[in-house]
C-alpha cells in the first residue's frame, strides 16, 4: 500500500472534522484523532482538490524552516496512517 503523489485524498464517508473545548479533532467510527499544527494543515487539504504533491508543496512553504524531505516523509506517513484507519479515500 503506497500513497500516489498525483492522487487527491479526501475524507471517507462518516469521517469529519469536529471541535470540542477548543481542540480540533478528526471524528470517525470508534476513533477521534487530535489535530494540531501540521496534522490539521494536512487534513484541511484532504478535500479531493489538492493532490498529495500539492499538499506537500504547501506545507513545505508553511514550515519553511524544516527540512523539506522530512516534511514530505512526515506527510506521507501521516496520510498512510489515515488510510490504514480508513479515514481517507483517494480520487
Amino acid at each position: 500500500m503506497s500513497i500516489e503523489l498525483t492522487s487527491k485524498p479526501h475524507l471517507a464517508p462518516g469521517v469529519r472534522l469536529g471541535e470540542n473545548q477548543g481542540q480540533r479533532v478528526l471524528l470517525m467510527p470508534e476513533r477521534a484523532l487530535r489535530l494540531n499544527g501540521p496534522s490539521l494543515e494536512i487534513v484541511q487539504r484532504c478535500d479531493a482538490q489538492h493532490t498529495v504533491e500539492q499538499i506537500i508543496g504547501e506545507l513545505q512553504q508553511i514550515y519553511s524552516q524544516a527540512d523539506p524531505h522530512k516534511v514530505e516523509s512526515d506527510i506521507l506517513n501521516y496520510l498512510a496512517l489515515l488510510q490504514k484507519e480508513r479515514a481517507l479515500d483517494f480520487a
Binding site: 471517507a12 469529519r16 469536529g18 479533532v25 467510527p29 477521534a32
Partner: protein, 383 residues
C-alpha cells in the same frame, strides 16, 4: 474538575431495552427496564448537551434496538446539533429505505449493523427471530448513502466456522470497517456460556484467518477482532478503565460506568434527572468506586500492567471469583485463574469427544462443534 480526572470521550446511550431480537448473549442486564420507565426526548436532548460540554465526542445509540424509539430522528438531530459524532448500533430490523434516508438526513455519522452469523439458520437460532434476510436488504440500501458503515459479527462456538462467509459479506458491502467480536460472558451470555464458548482449536484457526485478512485488506477494510477474555493471558482494559473514558446511560436515565455494573453489590447509581452529568462523572460513588488504583489488591496493586489494563473487568472478577475488587480472573497472574482454566478444559474436552481425529487433520476450517442439543436461555422483550 480535579486536575487528574480526564473528561469522558464517549456516551453510550442505551435508549431502550425493547428489541425484536432475543439474542442469547445480549449485553443488557437480566432485569430489563420497561418502556414506561424510559427517558423522554427532552431528557436525552439535555444529556447530549451536558455530555458535549463535559468533553464527550461521540454518542453510541444502542439498546435494545434503538430504532424502536419513535423519536429516534429527533434524538439523532439533537445529538448532532450538540456537536456529537452519532453512531447507531442496530439490528436493522425496524428499518425501511425511507427511514434510513431520514436518519442520514438527520445527521447520522456511522451505521453499525449487527449480525448473528452469515446465514439465516444460525441467526434465527441465536436471536429467536428471522432477521438475516432483512440485514442483507439493509446492506443494499446503505449503498445509496454517504455515511460510515461497520458490520459487527458476534462470534461463538456455533458460528465461528462461518468466518470466511462473514468476511466475504463484509467485503462485498460498503462497510469500511468490520468487527469480529467474540462473546464475552456476563448476563445472558454467562447463562448460556457452555453452549457459546469456542474451542481453542476454533479460536486459533480464526485468529490465523483474520490476521491474513487484515494484511490483505489494509487500507480497504478495517478488520477488528476481539478474542474471548477467557482465552486471553491478560485482561482487557475494560471500558478503557472504570470511570475513565465512558459513561453509559440506561433507558431510565441511570448513569453506569459499564453495561453490567448493576450486578455489583453495594453500588448505587445516580440518575440524570437528579444530578448533572458532570457531577455524576466527577463525584458519584459508582464512578469513584474503581477509578484509579487505590481500590486495587495484589497482584494488581504492584503490577507493571496496572496502568494498561486497570485490573481488567470488575464484573468478571465478581462473576468468577466472587469479589468485584479482585484481579480479573482471566489474568494469568490472578490467584483465581484456575477457575477459568477449568471452564476451558471442560469445553475443550467435550468438543474433542465429538470430533474424530481424521476430521481435525483434514478440515480446512475447524470442524463445527458437535451437534448437541442446546438449551438456550433467550432474552425476552420487556413490557
Amino acid at each position: 474538575m480535579p486536575s487528574h480526572l480526564a473528561n469522558p470521550l464517549a456516551l453510550i446511550a442505551e435508549l431502550t431495552h425493547r428489541c425484536p431480537l432475543h439474542c442469547v448473549y445480549c449485553s443488557n442486564p437480566l432485569e430489563l427496564q420497561a418502556r414506561s420507565a424510559e427517558l423522554l426526548t427532552d431528557d436525552w436532548e439535555r444529556v447530549f448537551r451536558e455530555a458535549a460540554s463535559l468533553g464527550v465526542l461521540q454518542v453510541d445509540f444502542t439498546g435494545g434496538e434503538p430504532l424502536t424509539r419513535t423519536d429516534i430522528l429527533d434524538l439523532v438531530r439533537a445529538a448532532r446539533s450538540a456537536g456529537l459524532y452519532v453512531n447507531l448500533i442496530t439490528s436493522g430490523l425496524p428499518l425501511d429505505e425511507a427511514k434510513l434516508a431520514a436518519l442520514v438526513e438527520a445527521g447520522l455519522d456511522h451505521f453499525q449493523l449487527s449480525f448473528q452469523g452469515a446465514r439465516e439458520e444460525i441467526a434465527q437460532e441465536i436471536s429467536g427471530t428471522k432477521a438475516h434476510a432483512q440485514k442483507l436488504r439493509v446492506l443494499e440500501w446503505l449503498r445509496h448513502h454517504r455515511l460510515a458503515v461497520t458490520l459487527n459479527f458476534v462470534l461463538h462456538r456455533r458460528n465461528l466456522e462461518q468466518l470466511p462467509e462473514m468476511l466475504a459479506l463484509a467485503e462485498s458491502s460498503t462497510a469500511s470497517r468490520v468487527e469480529f467480536a467474540n462473546v464475552q460472558y456476563y448476563g445472558w451470555a454467562f447463562a448460556n456460556r457452555d453452549s457459546l464458548l469456542p474451542t481453542r482449536e476454533q479460536l486459533t484457526h480464526s485468529i490465523d484467518f483474520l490476521k491474513s485478512a487484515q494484511g490483505r485488506l489494509e487500507g480497504k477494510l478495517r478488520v477488528e477482532y476481539v478474542v474471548p477474555d477467557y482465552y486471553a493471558k491478560y485482561p482487557k482494559p475494560c471500558m478503557g478503565g472504570w470511570g475513565r473514558k465512558l459513561i453509559l446511560i440506561t433507558p431510565n436515565g441511570d448513569a453506569l460506568p459499564c453495561h453490567a455494573a448493576r450486578i455489583i453489590p453495594g453500588l448505587s447509581f445516580e440518575n440524570i434527572n437528579s444530578r448533572s452529568l458532570r457531577e455524576i462523572w466527577e463525584c458519584s460513588d459508582a464512578f469513584q468506586k474503581f477509578r484509579g488504583e487505590s481500590w486495587m489488591q495484589e497482584p494488581c496493586k504492584s503490577c507493571d500492567r496496572r496502568a494498561q489494563d486497570f485490573g481488567g473487568c470488575r464484573c468478571q472478577a465478581l462473576l468468577l471469583a466472587g469479589d468485584a475488587a479482585g484481579t480479573d480472573p482471566v489474568c494469568q497472574l490472578s490467584p483465581d485463574r484456575q477457575k477459568v482454566d477449568a471452564v476451558l478444559a471442560q469445553i475443550n474436552l467435550d468438543a474433542g469427544n465429538g470430533a474424530t481425529a481424521a476430521q481435525a487433520q483434514t478440515a480446512p476450517h475447524p470442524p463445527a462443534a458437535p451437534p448437541t442439543k442446546h438449551e438456550w436461555l433467550y432474552r425476552p422483550n420487556p413490557s
